[in-house]
């Protein structure tokens, strides 16, 4: 009950921050908070697999794609022009976060219960139960059974969709004039990818 309202507050606050932020990078951070809160909410709705996918695909892949585009478009400067060594500034926070992640992973591996094999028939999704229980609605095994039996064709069409997307991206953003864009020489002699008159991030 309290969890729902806290998560709802977090979702709305991060959503508002996303659409009102001055710079796209701040929007990405707001969206990251939104996705994490949404993943926790999926867990409260017994969608375990989708909660993990939310983190891995959205926060891990899509937001990083946004960050790469922002970095490529707005810079026009080489990374080494920014400063000789910018690592010390973020060394301590990065080490702390890495240590927390390591402790969490080791703890969860050590404490993981042995998972029972699903015994339900194909097409059935089991009864409602607690998140984390095996053989109930929403557990990863039941999601997999539903995905690979009754819904196999949509899953396979997904592969086609992703391939079309990859081909489209390569056609759109790939080098159209490779000869001009790849002068012979060292990488540091090359032109930056874009030199915007006016910075994208303003």
């Amino acid at each position: 009950m309290i969890a729902f309202w806290l998560l709802a507050l977090a979702l709305i606050a991060t959503g508002v921050f996303t659409i009102t932020a001055r710079k796209p990078v701040y929007s990405v951070v707001g969206l990251l908070g939104n996705f994490v809160a949404l993943a926790i909410m999926y867990l409260t709705l017994q969608a375990e697999f989708l909660a993990v996918i939310q983190i891995v695909v959205y926060s891990g892949a899509i937001l990083i794609l946004f960050l790469f585009v922002i970095a490529l478009l707005s810079s026009g400067v080489k990374p080494f022009d920014v400063g000789p060594d910018r690592l010390p500034k973020i060394l301590v926070p990065a080490a702390i976060i890495g240590a927390i992640a390591l402790v969490t992973i080791v703890y969860s591996v050590v404490r993981a219960p042995s998972v029972a094999q699903p015994s339900i028939a194909a097409g059935s999704v089991g009864a409602l139960g607690e998140t984390g229980q095996a053989d109930v609605f929403g557990s990863v095994a039941n999601f997999g059974i539903a995905l690979f039996t009754a819904n196999l064709l949509p899953f396979e069409v997904t592969a086609l969709l992703l391939m079309v997307a990859v081909i489209g991206v390569v056609l759109l953003a790939g080098d159209d004039e490779p000869a001009r864009r790849r002068p012979k020489g060292r990488a540091s002699d090359r032109e930056p990818i874009v030199k915007p008159q006016e910075p994208l991030v303003r």
């Binding site: 009950m1 659409i19 796209p24 969206l31 079309v164 489209g168 759109l172 915007p196």
Partner: protein
């Protein structure tokens, strides 16, 4: 399925989904930065997913989960294609305002 399976009324989840969806709509309409517009579209995808997963639990039916999974796939494709378009548009016009990109306006 009785609504007692939810800690809070199911309508709360749907209302929250609607709120997030319209935050995304407002973002697309108001903001003129193409990157923030794309992120607002992601917000709308997520609102739709929240509704799908809520209804999946209400009906104890995994089809909602499958559909949300497919929506995530579509969202990933959309982000990749949209960002590729943003990249080539910036390469050619160096513009940050989508209102000024009116070459196809006719």
């Amino acid at each position: 399925m009785s609504p007692s399976a939810f800690d809070v009324p199911m309508e709360s989840y749907i209302a929250l989904s609607a709120v997030i969806f319209f935050l995304g709509v407002i973002g697309v309409i108001v903001r003129r930065n193409p990157l923030i517009m794309l992120m607002s579209i992601e917000l709308m995808f997520n609102a739709a997913n929240l509704a799908l997963i809520t209804f999946a639990k209400a009906w104890v039916n995994a089809t909602g989960h499958i559909f949300a999974f497919l929506v995530i796939t579509v969202a990933a494709s959309e982000a990749a294609i949209g960002l590729a378009i943003v990249v080539i548009v910036f390469r050619r016009s160096k513009n940050v305002d989508v209102d000024e990109i009116a070459t196809l306006h006719g």
